[in-house]
Amino acid sequence: MRTLAEYLPEHPFLAGLDGSVMDLVVGCAQNVHFKEGEVVFRPGEPANTFYVIRHGRVALDIHDPRRGTIVVASLGDGEVVGWSWLVPPYRWMFGARAVSPVSAVALDGACLRGKADEDPAMGYALMQRVASVMYDRLQDARLRLLDLYGSPM
């Protein structure tokens, strides 16, 4: 497995960041592993970390007392999990659970928030990347809101 310093600069989410910024990001990163079924985070918990999945799949879910737990999205190899670390009150809205063995890079969001506050250019570059992920997820959610495969009646 490649080191974080080799892997992260090539990842689409981080590619193109300045060398010094990338050094900061790598410094805020660590490899983590989750067993199948293991909880990555729970709704309401402090959101100070986000993840880049190297291998495996993570399901985002929400619990409805009437319908039970519903998986609303799943994320796989190369995808980014979580943006609540960037937006107050910095708490997870949904839960996340590994549905297969997962290897990921955990990035210290609280650390990056602090660096971004100190260095707005770095913060803007980071925010552009997060906005791109959020844009894709928003489009996905809007289209699924249409219930395209539901009954036309």
């Binding site: 799949r57 737990t69 996905d140």
Partner: protein
């Protein structure tokens, strides 16, 4: 002008406006609201068709609806239609029991012509009951699997309970080297597969865009986004084929119910290339 006046001499014996009688020989409940009917002609003459074509299925005393054929165009089995229970006619069809008689007109329309993809990759993007019209094309590919490169099937369903032809997809993947990726809009915790839009799978699917033929079938909004994702990947619009759905009635281009500006989808379609469709799909009034 009569319909027969437009037909070649060899077709004069078959009036496309008169349904032929077929017997329901088997039914299969695919999902809670979707049933596959197996039909055999009462006159013993099988219905030849191309993958992607449709028939007008007649529930006598109730009405007629366009339904894509979902059987194997290279085989000799019964005529298969997978039907979703969404209205009076489809309800009459999905509740038909073996031994019942239904009417069949057609086949009508253009086909997928998937053999145009020989020598390259084939990528299919489909959602919901849109898998049914694609099934004949998949079976056609399978019948000559070595003629094609990578074959990728990307399928989206509402939930795990709504997945069509799950057994088929498992077999296609295991026996015919077809890459099958299934995603659902939402699922229970026991679902370990993908949850999300089928169009999002296009970006990561393994195929060579410049030597691929893409077949897309499903709700129109899904098809637009799927086609755009394929374009983004680099597939030429002329190599992206969509199966369009409108209010087919006569099936022979006379009544105009299925008109999409200059196109009569029952004869010019349902399968059309995206370069022709893209400008039309942007016009709300059509």
């Amino acid at each position: 002008m009569s319909v027969n006046a437009l037909a070649p001499a060899s077709d004069l014996l078959v009036d496309p406006m008169i349904p032929r009688e077929f017997a329901v020989v088997a039914t299969r409940l695919d999902t809670l609201d979707t049933v596959t009917l197996a039909l055999e002609p009462l006159d013993g003459i099988p219905l030849a068709y191309r993958a992607g074509q449709f028939t007008m299925l007649h529930a006598f005393g109730v009405g007629e609806v366009p339904i894509s054929i979902c059987g194997d165009p290279t085989g000799s089995g019964p005529l298969l239609h997978t039907i979703r229970d969404v209205g009076a006619v489809t309800h009459a069809l999905v509740t038909a029991s073996p031994g019942a008689t239904v009417g069949v007109r057609g086949p009508f329309g253009t086909g997928w012509d998937v053999t145009d993809g020989k020598g390259g990759d084939v990528v299919m993007v489909t959602g919901g009951i849109g898998l049914a019209p694609l099934r004949p094309a998949i079976l056609e590919v399978i019948s000559q699997r070595s003629e094609y490169g990578r074959v990728v099937l990307l399928y989206g369903a509402r939930s795990p309970a709504d997945i069509l032809f799950a057994d088929d997809m498992t077999r296609w993947a295991e026996q015919y080297d077809i890459v099958v990726e299934v995603t659902v809009d939402y699922g229970p915790p026991s679902w370990s597969g993908r949850v999300g839009l089928v169009t999002a799978l296009v970006a990561r699917a393994g195929f060579d865009p410049l030597r691929s033929l893409a077949l897309v079938c499903g709700p129109e909004v899904m098809m637009r986004y799927a086609a755009d994702a394929l374009i983004t990947r680099g597939v030429p619009a002329t190599r992206i084929r969509l199966s369009m759905e409108r209010n087919m009635k006569c099936g022979v281009g006379l009544c105009g119910h299925c008109q999409l500006r200059e196109l009569f989808l029952c004869v010019d379609g349902p399968v059309l290339t995206y370069d022709r469709l893209a400008p039309l799909m942007d016009v709300r009034e059509l």
